[in-house]
């Protein structure tokens, strides 16, 4: 089984966001970057599909700066076979341009399954996977929390409000992964050593400018520090009064 996993280098979820002097981007000074957590589920699922099939290849593809090579190495250390970096100068806010660049790389390469995280925890675009699928005219299931593939056909589960959708689809297909699908493995020392020798191809890429213009990136308004109503159960009556009369939410 030939599997592609599209991954992204993102700031760690514990990052304290500081705005750069241009007022439009993140100040990256001192920021630790990681493999997007939702993409970890995609890498893990790709490895499991290959292991189950007993044969095949897992190719990780990242669109991003030169430093994303490190992110690709993380996925290679988990067990992926080779990596491709579509190297860009900075990333665009327009997810469609990202999808076009990935689709151009994926097209005609004969992948049975293309996996992506359901979204990146930096730009929260939540759209690149299904866009890639549309551009390649492939079936797609998003936010997958359970997956079974047997003989060219798949069944996936995805959470919807108040329930779970069970979805059937044929291969080849594009799938985006959600938390709950699997527990990603930690790269073992042996894997980390092996990853250094795995092929990693770097291709300069220039996504189109897109049609979204960033006007500003700002910190959200600080919430006013609230008040401690009191201590222990004795404070509950006053809390309820405040919620009714002051906040008017009850």
């Amino acid at each position: 089984m030939k599997i592609a996993v599209c991954i992204k280098r993102v700031p760690d979820s514990e990052t304290r966001v500081k705005i750069a002097s241009d007022g439009k981007s993140l100040d990256e000074a001192g920021v630790k970057f990681i493999l997007n957590p939702y993409d970890e589920f995609a890498v893990e699922e790709g490895l499991r599909l290959k292991e189950k099939a007993g044969t095949g290849e897992v190719v990780v593809i990242a669109l991003g700066p030169a430093a994303a090579q490190e992110t690709i190495r993380t996925a290679l250390a988990m067990g992926a076979d080779r990596g491709v970096l579509l190297q860009t100068q900075g990333l665009h806010p327009d997810g469609l341009e990202t999808a076009k660049a990935l689709a151009a790389e994926l097209k005609g390469a004969g992948f049975d399954v293309i996996l992506l995280g359901k979204m990146a925890i930096d730009d929260y675009n939540h759209q690149v996977g299904p866009m890639v699928a549309e551009l390649l005219d492939l079936p797609c299931v998003t936010t997958v929390t359970h997956l079974e593939i047997v003989g060219g056909k798949g069944t996936a589960e995805r959470e919807i409000e108040g329930g779970v959708e069970v979805v059937a689809f044929p291969l080849p297909a594009v799938l985006t992964t959600d938390k709950g699908l699997n527990e990603p493995r930690y790269p073992a020392l042996k894997g980390i050593m092996a990853a250094k020798k795995k092929p990693l191809e770097v291709k300069p890429t220039a996504p189109g400018p897109g049609a979204l213009e960033i006007l500003s990136l700002t910190l959200p308004p600080e919430r006013q520090a609230g008040k401690i109503v009191g201590e222990g159960p004795a404070a509950v009556a006053e809390l309820v009064r405040l919620l009714r009369e002051e906040a008017k939410v009850l």
């Binding site: 979820s13 514990e14 990052t15 304290r16 966001v17 993140l26 957590p37 939702y38 806010p93 997810g95 469609l96 341009e97 925890i121 929260y124 939540h126 759209q127 299904p130 866009m131 699928a133 549309e134 079936p139 797609c140 299931v141 919807i160 409000e161 108040g162 329930g163 779970v164 959708e165 069970v166 979805v167 059937a168 044929p170 709950g180 897109g210 049609a211 979204l212 213009e213 006007l215 500003s216 990136l217 700002t218 910190l219 959200p220 919430r223 520090a225 008040k227 401690i228 109503v229 009191g230 201590e231 222990g232 404070a235 509950v236 809390l239 309820v240 405040l242 919620l243 939410v249 009850l250």
Partner: protein
Amino acid sequence: MSNVLAVLEQRDGAIRKVSYEVVTGARRLADALGGGAGVDALILATGPVQGADQLGRFGADRVVTLTNVAFGRYAPEGYARAIADGVNAGGYGVVVFAASATGKDLAPRVAARLGRPLVQDITDVTAAAGAVIATRPVYAGKALLRVRVAGSPVMLSLRPNVFTPVQRPKAGAQESASVDGSAGRVIVTQIKAAPAGTLDVAEAPIVVSGGRGLKDPANFKVLEALAAAFAGRAAVGASRAVVDAGWRPHADQVGQTGKTVSPTLYVAVGISGAIQHLAGMRTSKVIVAINKDKDAPIFKVADYGIVGDLFEVVPRLTEEIRKLHG
């Protein structure tokens, strides 16, 4: 000015609540764009949909139901094709979806078919000199990104619970047309419904969340009782720590690698307030924190706090809320 299309959702033949928010957001944007822009509401279903006649109240000039035997449940490819065709035929300037589970799946497909960018999960939208300017939380709400969209149609999805439905009576003229085509290659074969009355944390007007302070998964019954006291308006959420520990389902997680929620009332119980959790709930209208540690960071974002043992405070709160809904 070309019109705004509001793409709505139905389940089991009834309009979903979030769809009233979509019509409200579409109306607001149409008015901001000016020039008499109208709002058309689009529903995909197998036949007449309950609640469609209410959409005029929230500002829909026209309500179009596209029927197809394959449109009972969400059919990703069939829906995307029908909507993209409808957008092309109608020459809409803006298309608005809900950033719901379905909308977040559907909107990118339609946008890609139309070759247009998508501004997903927005919390605010305005117009300036005829251009749409949308605001969306990024880094899980730790920052707000404002973007201007060039060209047309402008594709947007609205974060649930943000665009509170507002009465804005318009004609709401009902139309219906059957459309050809299959569901597509991706088929929803079954919906495993959560127990009746269960609300999703992303859509509930009230969220009661628990963290490590609950000490044991069985103790979440204390929060479930509190949620139940709100008479069907509250959902139970959870911090990453307790989800990772397997105490609660992934679907309930609030925070940067879980759901971002904006309820009217968020009650954080036994949650210290890690930065990734705060990111997921800081846009709640009112935040209440109950924690035994008076220095917990959660109190810095809470509007009201009670310092104390949650096992004493929460049952008392449940009692008081029950009295209100007596």
